[in-house]
């Protein structure tokens, strides 16, 4: 067959597809917002783990400055976060429990309700995870607390009492450092408009859920510090200049009142250049976020890591972030020590540990995908 004849066949075959009308740009905007929220949730999950690990280390081992110190000594296994050897990824099959050292799937957990699917996951300490299963049609959300054993086996999967109808679609989840509560951010479903909400639930169900309502715009990218502070990105769609990071004191007021913001700080980073997720360190002092440097013709962009003061939003310093952000693999902070002095980052195929000014590259046994197609595929550890 001649090349031209084959090309003609392809042209004929593709013609009706090439005429496909694209959906409105607003649909893309919502997808992009959801993707950012998912990426951030994954990063925030690691932070929740950090808080407890560091807390235990500090309280139980007097004189130890930072639980992350042993990281650099580890060369043969996946080093993040210290002491948590399993992570969970979600895909169409359900929740996959993976050995972080080699990426091997140890167990696939199907949602308990037939025909449903897990849509979010967030990690706490001590191999505790929270899984959300939200129905697209009704908005009803079921939350499950999953406990893994030391060998990665499923010890328990129980329904959290607060499961029920949610006033919107889940855009973010985070677990408190002590593993006693979890936060959920929601936004109205398309085409409904309205405020975003943040809820905080207790795992046991005994405590009354607390909730806050934003004055406008959307909320996502939850990140819980080691205490009661919860950081999130607030996106004001009507006045983009007002968008930025906010910090909520979860012990203050609730009951549908406007978000009582502990900090009015905003990161001095244009939203479109925020390459990865934002993380509030466990001590609540610092926000870390990957920022694209911009490009001029390359298919992927170089990125660097911005360290911002949580209280003021002021840029403190830039840190090196080796790798390029091509939009297909995770690029950002995977794990941060309590003060942010020690970091594990990943960008594309390159993972690095940063302690002070020293950078150590680590060979990745597994690439963390960034293919948030549709409602599926997120991860936590």
């Amino acid at each position: 067959m001649h090349d031209q004849k084959l090309r003609d066949q392809f042209d004929d075959w593709a013609r009706p597809l090439r005429d496909t009308a694209p959906p409105p740009v607003a649909v893309l905007r919502r997808r992009a917002r959801r993707r950012r929220a998912r990426l951030a949730a994954a990063g925030a999950s690691a932070l929740a783990v950090t808080g407890v690990i560091v807390g235990l280390a500090v309280s139980g081992l007097p004189g130890r400055q930072d639980a992350a110190t042993p990281i650099l000594a580890v060369t043969a296994r996946h080093p993040y976060p210290p002491g948590e050897p399993y992570l969970i990824t979600l895909d169409n099959r359900g929740a996959e429990v993976r050995n972080e050292a080699n990426g091997k799937v140890l167990k696939v957990l199907a949602p308990p309700r037939p025909g449903s699917s897990f849509t979010w996951v967030a990690a706490a300490s001590d191999r505790l995870f929270v899984l959300a299963d939200q129905q697209d049609r009704t908005g009803v959300a079921y939350f499950y607390a999953l406990r893994l054993g030391a060998a990665g086996q499923v010890v328990s999967l129980r329904l959290v009492p607060h499961s029920g109808a949610m006033n919107g679609q889940i855009y973010g989840m985070a677990v408190s450092a002590d593993g006693s509560e979890f936060a959920v951010a929601t936004m109205p479903r398309v085409p409904v408009t309205g405020p975003a909400r943040v809820f905080v639930y207790g795992f046991g169900g005994a405590r009354v859920p607390r909730g806050w309502v934003s004055s406008a715009g959307g909320v996502g990218t939850l990140s819980w510090a080691g205490d009661t502070r919860l950081a999130f990105y607030w996106e004001d769609t009507s006045q983009p200049a007002r968008s930025g990071l906010r910090i909520l004191a979860t012990t203050l007021g609730s009951g549908g009142s406007a978000l009582p913001l502990l900090s009015q700080s905003r990161l001095a980073v244009p939203e479109q250049n925020n390459s990865g997720s934002a993380q509030l360190t466990a001590d609540g002092s610092t926000v870390l976020t990957a920022v694209a440097e911009g490009g001029s013709g390359a298919a992927a962009s170089k990125v660097r890591l911005g360290e911002f003061a949580a209280a003021s939003g002021r840029l403190l310093r830039w840190k090196p972030l080796t790798g390029t952000d091509d939009g297909t693999t995770y690029c950002g902070v995977l794990w941060a020590s309590r003060t942010g002095s020690t970091l594990i980052t990943q960008c594309g195929h390159i993972q690095q540990a940063i302690t002070g000014g020293k950078v150590t590259h680590i060979r990745l046994p597994m690439i963390i995908p960034n293919t948030m197609v549709g409602d599926q595929n997120t991860f936590a550890w």
Partner: protein
Amino acid sequence: MRHCGEFGEFYEANYGRIVAMIAALLGDRHEAEDVAQEAFARALTRWSRLAGYELPEAWVRRVALRIAIDSGRRRRRARATAARLEAQRQTPGPEPGDALSFTALGAALLRLPLREREVVVLHYLADLPVDAIARDCGLPPGTVKTRLAAGRQHLEKELAHFPEAVA
């Protein structure tokens, strides 16, 4: 340098092409639209930078390809579709709803090995030269040529199962 407001024009001009390319890879129009929307959503968030690129559509094409491949859905979809096609081949009278994959070319494409299908689609459908495919796929040009030759040979062989396609 394009302005941010030009994203809409860029999106409308290129959306269908990306859908067609991914549909040829996946054999599923709905899946292809999903992947294309995801790729353009990522482009939208980076438009201030992409707008300065000489060929922003190349970035979108590359990301869409990666999404389609990395998602793992493609392999499952392709296997399921191939099995369905096999059953249909033995039972004449395909359903109209399967028109996309059951055209001779669509069916033949899905029977190609993935690595060959990818370069064949990029060459014949996206109209890319070998060196551009090599950049997109991260392969040496020689490997692309080898896969292209093998893919074309296999495609002709598969199309022979559908006499109307080669008539």
